[in-house]
Amino acid sequence: MKGNEALAQAAIDAGCRCFFGYPITPQTELAAYMAKQMPKVGGVYLQAESEIAAINMVQGAAAAGVRAMTSSSSPGISLKTEGISYMCGSDLPALIVNVQRGGPGLGGIQPSQADYWQATKAPGHGDLHILVFTPSSVQEMVDLVGKAFDLADKYRMPAMILADGLLGQMMEPVEIGGKEVPVPAAKPWAACGHRNQREHNIVNSLYLTASELEDLVKKRFERYREIEAKEPLCEAYLVDDADIVVAAYGAAARIAKAAVRTARERGIRAGLLRPVTVWPFPKKDFQAAARHASRFLCVEMNMGQMVDDVRLAVECSKPVGFFGTTGGVIPTPAQVLEQIENLSGGAR
């Protein structure tokens, strides 16, 4: 299946029944798939007048207690940041998919990872985080959608699948469906009509008393600390004895993995750490690797947006280098291999 379509089906399988979107390349197949399939499961597909309206429709459906999602690509995600911030401030769960393309501005339509900073550091104004998943195959996109919805519900916050044009457009065999559609946990906080059986619920992000807002944000950050302790995901490939540890996620990780494999064949002790969540960042995996690795190399389809997170994770105990391509240019395994070989100084 095509990545975008597989992701859409996985969302339906995860019990998502409201999709609000707006056309933008390279994610449009996702919306088109939803337009076709949602009516068949009694769900809602609606093409909004803008990405801003789409994220606010998601917010309304989420506030009403329903599993809701939207998808877009980089310029559209910028428009959604307002709604993402309000959802964080209102403790609302939802799924946002970013099939990244080159930026800034209108940028290009080729695959990119240039929204890492936006997703992990500032997906909206204010003190906030969202869960950010970085699948590197169509199958993993499928597998992470349900998890993203579950964790969003559990921690009452938005989750993002940070994909890229390569994964969205790629066709791979997938195992999908065959499971019962989960029934999401009850949401006693939802604004869905109180049926004269409880006090009225208010879904709100406004707190005019500074100390009240501070208390609320601090409580939210306690939740964030819990997530950072419990939820980081990372694949470690040939890392146990690695001297050079490549750090890469998403599509770039596939390319890096091929390079690491070849480096091993050539006698270089290379390994790959592949964050599957970039918030929470899998710090412990990097700290463990830093005990034996002599250096790290970030490989990304941007100008090095994850480098600082790796440096912080290893507390600058080891040098962290970078190799990347941007603007929609995709690195080749040979280029990454060359970097690894240079770092190894030819030592075998």
Binding site: R17, C18, F20, V44, L46, A48, E49, S50, I52, A53, A54, N56, M57, V58, Q59, G60, A61, A62, A63, A64, G65, V66, A68, E82, G83, Y86, S90, A190, A191, C192, G193, H194, R195, N196, Q197, H200, N201, I202, V203, N204, S205, L206
Partner: protein
């Protein structure tokens, strides 16, 4: 002892923060009375705007959502699509609805979104201290039109009911005022009709309330109502702009 007057159940006991002479209180009450009379409080979900009425979520007893500025019709769309049996309404001011939220308003109407929009037009941004609004009258002095709104540079006010009534998705549009008893009674009928439009599944309904803002207009409450009658009502004529109900279709359109 017979009760002859009481607070609608759909209003909470919270004291409102509105300025003396502001008409928000009357409009809140009319909506709440209609929720009571139609038995809708338990199924209603209201959407509060950004602006003076931002804290409306504290005043209505039904479930409430506070929206980003101008996005209330999109939030309401999400709620209504997710829960078609809910009675969904937005409560918005002129800056919220006719400036930053124009796209959300027009497209919710164009889609025939089955929601009610209660639009409070007082020709000024109240909450931020009296700036020019999309409905500020030509020549009207505000903090950001200190020499009077000059249509050559600031353009013209938007007549929202007239604009939305051209859209096929709009089922009911009426402009009302709450400056006197007769108009208050008419306004309540309009609110009820808007909810009835939604209950009948006929699509988008809007009631525009021509309102006063004594604080930012710089008048006493009673002077403000005189100014409203002399200046606002000629520019924004009261009346039914659209009504697709069978009853109205049998009558002559205005």
């Amino acid at each position: 002892m017979a009760v002859v007057f009481e607070k609608p159940h759909a209003l909470t006991d919270a004291p409102t923060h509105y300025c003396p002479g502001c008409t928000h209180g009357i409009i809140h009450r009319l909506i709440a009375e209609c929720l009571d009379e139609l038995g809708l409080e338990g199924s209603a979900v209201g959407v509060a705007p950004v602006g003076c009425a931002v804290m409306a979520y504290n005043y209505f007893s039904c479930d409430m959502i506070q929206s980003p500025h101008g996005r209330a019709p999109a939030i309401a769309t999400g709620v209504k699509r997710a829960l078609p049996s809910a009675a969904v309404f937005t409560y918005q001011g002129d800056g919220d609805l006719a400036a930053i939220g124009t796209a959300e308003t027009v497209h919710a109407a164009a889609r025939g979104e089955n929601i009610c929009v209660f639009f409070v037009n007082n020709a000024i941004y109240g909450m931020t201290g009296g700036q020019m609004a999309p409905t500020t009258l030509p020549g009207q002095v505000t903090q950001t039109s200190p020499y009077g709104r000059d249509v050559k540079t600031a353009g013209y006010p938007i007549r929202v009911c007239e604009l939305l009534s051209t859209l096929d998705g709009t089922a009911f549009a009426q402009r009302v005022a709450v400056d006197c008893v007769r108009n208050v009674l008419a306004a309540k009928k309009a609110v009820k009709k808007a909810f009835q439009t939604q209950l009948d599944g006929r699509g988008f309904s809007i009631v525009e309330f021509i309102s006063s803002c004594p604080t930012n207009w710089g008048f006493t409450p009673s002077e403000a109502l005189v100014w409203l009658r002399e200046h606002m009502l000629p520019y924004y004529p009261l009346g039914v702009y659209k009504d697709t109900s069978a009853q109205a279709q049998g009558e002559a359109q205005p």
